[in-house]
């Protein structure tokens, strides 16, 4: 089973970058994709991220969640089409032939464009964060956040939230199987998902909460919150980090300036 956002132990290019470089990369990519409204450019960014994933030996992991991303994108497009009319008319959702309500709910090219832009931005953000999280060991992330002077409690909260995603995923599957074995058949589709909420989410949340006590004690006992730490095996900053960071910053600034002065 593919695990969402769990660290993958590999030694690709992205793994070898310093966490700070990766954070600069994410901020750069996010900023550029938010200011851009150019469909071709955004599509280019998606492909570029997939290419980076491929070159960093992380392609399979990054595309493993694509089904969910495509589903969400479709939802975005449908919602914008129905709610934000603008630009040339494509047609009406309810054809003219239908009595009384015919020719209502217009669908426009403008809305389709906005929907596509939102979807592509969503894809870029998810892929970029995924690349970052699956290639960075939580320990390095803790060190980096500590250097960025983020309070240790917030860092731990962030790390634990990430760490529990795969655990909840596996536990959710077990609970699902246990309920299926009791003859439970929530059905498929959205209604099935809604019906399956109580028998699956309640045990999942209750079990997670009962685990929180031991987790909290473990954190205290191991002294994570004392903030005093022997520095060892810290991630070195190398030439490639300066190179990647500079590239991202220069590219971001140029693109920002170009958009600002309406050159693009």
């Amino acid at each position: 089973m593919s695990e969402i956002l769990a660290y993958v132990h590999k030694d690709g290019f992205f793994h070898r970058l310093h966490p700070v470089t990766k954070i600069i990369f994410i901020i750069g990519i996010s900023a550029v994709c938010i200011i851009s409204t150019n469909l071709v450019f955004l599509l280019g960014l998606v492909l570029a991220l997939l290419a980076i994933a491929y070159l960093s030996d992380l392609y399979t992991e990054v595309v493993s969640q694509s089904r969910l991303i495509v589903m969400m994108s479709l939802v975005f497009i449908v919602i914008t089409l129905l709610t934000i009319p603008g630009g040339d008319l494509i047609g009406y959702l309810i054809p003219a032939g239908v009595p009384l309500i015919g020719n209502s709910i217009p669908l426009t090219w403008g809305a389709l464009g906005i929907g596509l832009i939102l979807s592509l931005r969503f894809m870029i953000l998810i892929y970029a964060f995924q690349l970052f999280l699956i290639s960075t060991q939580p320990r390095d992330l803790v060190h980096t956040m500590e250097r960025m002077r983020i309070p240790i409690d917030y860092t731990l909260m962030f790390i634990i939230a990430l760490r529990f995603i795969p655990t909840l995923q596996i536990e959710g599957k077990r609970i699902h199987e246990a309920q299926l074995a009791r003859g439970y058949n929530p059905g498929t589709g959205i209604m099935g998902k809604i019906r399956s909420v109580a028998p699956i989410v309640i045990p999942l949340v209750s079990n997670a909460l009962s685990r929180a006590n031991v987790l909290g004690l473990t954190i205290d006992i191991r002294g994570y919150r004392t903030g005093k730490r022997t520095r060892l095996r810290e991630f070195p900053v190398r030439g490639r980090d300066y190179l990647v960071s500079s590239l991202v910053i220069v590219f971001g600034c140029f693109y920002g300036a170009a958009v600002f002065f309406q050159l693009l």
């Binding site: 299926l180 058949n185 191991r222």
Partner: protein
């Protein structure tokens, strides 16, 4: 090292005292094993001895606890006490914070104010001692229960404390993993560490335990060196549960009658793979109606994968599974759940209703059976839970929750009952109770199939024992009928 003097404790918002005037002292280099039924206060005792009760819990406390001669209340924080005492909890998963084994242990070491060289050295030695060096790049949550518990132990040992408190470290583990933990503790004892061990499995730790303390209802009912304590018959039954009394069904079933009926389960040339990883290969097995079969084998031998084929949670990659004449490939899980009731290892994976009654009724509704009080009552009666009908399922004890899981499935009246590790995590008496219920259900005509690590249960209760290894059945033993 640790001294408890007339300790009493009541948890916040409760009236029942969890610890009642309890005194004992743990001396340097000593190993004390605390045992007793669930709910006796053993975990609370652990929390008290580790100073956790005083620093993290509210509630009513009386008496005095000293750690290395200093009153527990005079320590500034739990982190300060944690420099003297290491504690390992029973839930290994909850003690894993990072994503590789090495990272988990290294992160614990980094916060001890040690030099980098010392840390590297200790990291290596602790991993070697707990036999996890080869797992260092693996993700903790993908390890087996035994491996996880060894990682949790290593992360605690890395802190280098003189005193080690372990709260049921082997409760969820199989024979082999329990033996490995016992070996590690033996080495630690030899090195002069002081150990407070909460355990049910005395036999595995017999040679390291200096003093045994038996707790019942928050009090110490016996303590002393093991031979003296076990001399008392009543106490011995608490410490070492005896499954021989359960006995097998009396007399062989009428053969003619048995042959006339369909076999409950017929597995023919079954193979199954998870993606590219083969999990079962060429399994052939027939289980007759009314039989009590135990499936045994180490973790990862394919036991759970096999029983999941019985109700189509997994569909054979090759071969067939026929349940009471129905080929599982042609039926849905819901259809098969009328014939096969599957109870998983952790009962907490199924409870979501507000009352025990509703929890049982859920299964009935799923298969379209009437939500009949008589059916629910009789299932609860079979499971010894007749008086708990209106309680919230998660408030029940671990043993009661296991029995409720069985009741939920029994109410659906399946002919075949499959239970994955029904006694894991239970104390001796609770395990005996569960087994007695299963024997009773067999007498009523159910076919019982259990997966178990407990060789004694398999030997004493099952008509046949199926031994699995690496996805194959390596032997089927017919037990003698007593």
């Amino acid at each position: 090292m640790i001294e408890l003097e007339r300790i009493s404790y009541t948890y916040p918002h409760t009236v029942k005292t969890a610890l009642n005037h309890l005194s004992f002292s743990l001396k340097k280099g000593q190993c004390i094993m605390v045992t007793g039924p669930s709910g006796a206060g053993k975990t609370t005792l652990c929390l008290a001895a580790a100073g956790i009760l005083h620093h993290e819990y509210g509630g009513k406390k009386e008496g005095r606890i000293t750690i290395e001669g200093k009153d527990v209340a005079s320590y500034g924080s739990l982190s300060e006490i944690a420099r003297k005492i290491g504690i390992v909890f029973d839930d290994a998963e909850a003690q894993m914070i990072f994503t590789t084994v090495e990272e988990e242990i290294l992160s614990a070491l980094e916060h001890r104010g040690l030099d980098a060289g010392v840390i590297e050295e200790r990291l290596e030695s602790v991993m070697a001692m707990t036999h996890i060096t080869e797992l260092k790049d693996r993700s903790p949550h993908k390890l087996s229960g035994g491996q996880k518990q060894r990682v949790a132990l290593a992360a605690t040992l890395a802190l280098g404390n003189e005193v080690l408190i372990l709260d049921e470290p082997t409760s969820e583990l199989d024979e082999h993993s329990t033996r490995r933990i016992a070996e590690i503790l033996r080495d630690l004892k030899r090195q002069g560490r002081t150990i407070l061990l909460i355990e049910h499995k005395f036999a595995h730790f017999r040679d390291i335990v200096d003093t045994i303390i038996v707790m019942e209802e928050g009090k110490i009912s016996a303590s002393g060196n093991p031979p003296d304590v076990l001399g008392d018959d009543r106490i011995r039954k608490i410490v070492v549960p005896d499954f021989s009394g359960i006995g097998k069904r009396s007399g062989t079933p009428e053969l003619a009658h048995e042959e006339a009926r369909l076999p409950a389960v017929t597995v023919t040339n079954l193979s199954y793979s998870y993606g590219d990883i083969p999990a079962l290969s060429q399994i052939n097995l027939t289980i007759h109606s009314g039989e009590f079969v135990a499936i045994v084998g180490e973790n990862g031998s394919g036991k759970t994968t096999l029983v999941k084929q019985f109700n189509n949670l997994l569909t054979p990659t090759e071969g067939d599974v026929v349940i009471l004449g129905k080929n599982t490939k042609q039926y849905s899980i819901t259809d098969l759940s009328r014939d096969v009731g599957l109870v998983f290892q952790n009962p907490d994976h199924m409870f979501f209703a507000d009352t025990v009654r509703d929890e049982v009724a859920f299964g009935l509704k799923n298969i379209g059976m009437p939500d009949d009080e008589n059916i629910i009552d009789s299932a609860l009666l079979d499971a010894g839970l007749a008086h708990s009908k209106d309680l919230y399922p998660r408030w029940l004890s671990r043993g009661e929750r296991q029995r409720l899981a069985i009741a939920c499935v029994v109410a659906m009246r399946p002919e075949i009952l499959v239970l994955d590790e029904p006694t894991t995590g239970l104390d001796g008496n609770e395990a005996l109770q569960v087994i007695a219920i299963l024997r009773d259900l067999q007498r009523k005509g159910h076919t019982i199939i259990i997966i178990t690590h407990n060789r004694e249960i398999a030997d004493h209760c099952a008509d046949r024992i199926v031994r699995m290894e690496n996805g194959k059945i390596i032997e089927i033993l017919s037990a003698e009928v007593s």
